[in-house]
């Protein structure tokens, strides 16, 4: 089914502080913009798939949203995989379209931890709270320490990831954080949970994004010339508890990426640009290793020397990622992949023909990969 389904439209809200807006309202704004971008009417939509808001999970959220949008979709609902869910929903949509379950799908996600509650990211890890084990950053720090000790990965190498991505965000007028970062500034950045500093951690943001999917055939019959084909996708899952993971330096991004690349018929060296879920810098490093861009353990040197910046060998997070564009909804990485493939990105990478996008949830335990290509 490689290339049979396309992303025909993308939409988003502003990112940052959006006080007084609920997630239903944010989702509707993103969907309205995605439909306008695709140039189709709401009534054409017969599937609505949504990731439930992380900071305020609700029962049957997908049905609540459908009602607010006046939709009675054939296929609809919410799918919980943490940050991996957005791409997994796109994959599910593609399979549903391919098998005649629906024709036009909206996939969307909104959350507002910035002006709402960020409790989901700071809570205790069960009874281990007795030992002071709290919060999401510490889980990633635990992976980072093992990687640093086992392979000699350095703080500066993590810093170079932040420097490259913040540079891209500074050039994006829609980014929440438009302040570039130098390596010296990174070194002066305070520890949050050593070995991770403040500037290793993504933003906390309000925001929503949405995509419209349909078959390539339908897009062609509607005269769309900028619909971006989905070449491949894949998923993976490992121990949700960091402590139980047999090898802290390996992740399920490996099986997810391999599945997606195999479906796309591509090798890592065929990929021109990457939009990698950068909730923390270490996530980028380990995902690029898992995808086969660098050998296991060699992600540190790979990410250094400006390789990830536009103009480098593998431009990553060309609109600023979670570190700079917005911490939510994660789906912005797909939107930027689509813009790059269409050729209308703010920081357009010349002659980019293929883009890999990663989404992941929990402490790197649930992963989803998407491979996009040029409009035909």
């Amino acid at each position: 089914m490689r290339g049979n389904v396309v992303i025909a439209g993308i939409g988003q809200t502003a990112y940052g502080k959006l006080p007084g807006r609920g997630t239903v309202s944010l989702n509707i704004e993103a969907c309205r913009n995605a439909l306008a971008d695709a140039g189709i009417e709401k009534n054409a939509v017969d599937a609505l798939l949504v990731k439930p808001p992380t900071s305020n999970p609700q029962f049957m959220y997908g049905q609540t949203l459908a009602e607010a949008m006046g939709l009675q979709p054939r296929v609809g609902g919410a799918w919980d995989q943490g940050g991996a869910a957005n791409i997994s929903l796109i994959a599910f949509a593609a399979m549903a379209i391919e098998h005649g379950q629906c024709d036009v799908v909206l996939v969307c996600y909104a959350d507002n931890p910035r002006t709402g509650s960020r409790h989901a990211y700071e809570k205790a890890w069960g009874d281990d709270a007795a030992y002071g084990w709290f919060g999401v950053p510490a889980g990633y720090a635990m992976l980072a320490r093992r990687h640093m000790e086992e392979f000699g990965t350095t703080s500066d190498q993590l810093g170079e990831i932040a420097v490259a991505i913040r540079k891209h965000g500074a050039a994006n007028p829609n980014a929440q954080l438009r302040k570039p970062l130098t390596l010296d500034q990174y070194r002066d950045s305070p520890w949050v949970v050593d070995p991770l500093r403040r500037d290793d951690c993504c933003l906390v943001s309000d925001g929503a994004a949405a995509v419209v999917l349909m078959s390539a055939r339908r897009a062609k019959s509607l005269g769309m010339d900028k619909a971006v084909p989905i070449l491949g996708f894949g998923q993976g899952q490992s121990s949700s508890d960091v402590a139980q993971r047999p090898d802290l330096t390996k992740t399920c991004a490996e099986v997810s990426g391999a599945t997606a690349l195999q479906m796309a018929g591509l090798r890592p060296q065929d990929i021109d640009i990457a939009q990698i879920y950068d909730c923390f810098t270490i996530t980028v490093l380990m995902t690029l290793e898992a995808y086969g861009f660098a050998k296991h353990g060699q992600g540190g040197p790979f990410c250094a020397g400006g390789r990830l910046a536009i103009g480098g060998e593998l431009p990553v997070n060309t609109s600023g990622g979670l570190l700079s564009e917005t911490g939510m909804p994660g789906l912005q990485l797909v939107l930027e992949g689509v813009r790059q493939m269409r050729g209308d990105a703010t920081s357009q990478v010349k002659a980019a023909r293929t883009c890999v996008v990663s989404n992941q949830g929990g402490i790197m335990h649930t992963h989803s990969t998407l491979v996009l290509g040029n409009p035909a």
């Binding site: 700071e122 205790a124 890890w125 030992y131 002071g132 709290f134 720090a141 520890w191 050593d194 960091v242």
Partner: protein, 139 residues
């Protein structure tokens, strides 16, 4: 007692002991670190479960650990996510693997030099706000 200390004691994030985890915490109170082992396939694990995650058999047995372990990884908190820990910054949290196989989250104490991954450790049971915890020191 100093009223401030009293307030901190009250805020300790104590384990939520239930039927499943009670034997673990009771053993620690008695000075023993224990783990579960499957009667059917001999797989060993922590934390407490009612079924073996390898063969799905029920009624696992409790076994006392040797207390010998290795350091898998560790972090140092410079930000407090809970009031109880605000006065203890910076403090470490570690992932530890027992010689018998089970993994747990803990703290490393009495470290006279730098920590390093895979360093051998011994359990030391310490009281924190009235609760016995399994911490580890370099062997």
């Amino acid at each position: 007692m100093d009223p401030t200390e009293d307030m901190i004691e009250a805020a300790f994030p104590a384990p939520q002991v239930n039927e499943l985890t009670a034997p673990y915490w009771k053993a620690l109170e008695e000075g023993r670190l224990s783990f579960q082992r499957c009667a059917a396939c001999a797989h060993a694990w922590l934390p407490a479960r009612s079924e073996c995650p390898r063969c799905l058999a029920t009624e696992p047995r409790w076994e006392t650990a040797s207390g010998r372990a290795r350091l898998v990884s560790w972090v140092v908190y410079h930000h407090a996510y809970h009031d109880y820990y605000a006065t203890r910054l910076p403090y470490n949290v570690a992932v530890v693997e027992l010689d018998e196989g089970p993994r747990l989250v803990s703290n490393i104490v009495d470290a006279r030099s730098d920590l390093w991954i895979d360093m051998p450790l011994d359990v030391v049971i310490q009281r924190e706000a009235g609760t016995a915890l399994a911490r580890f020191r370099p062997a």
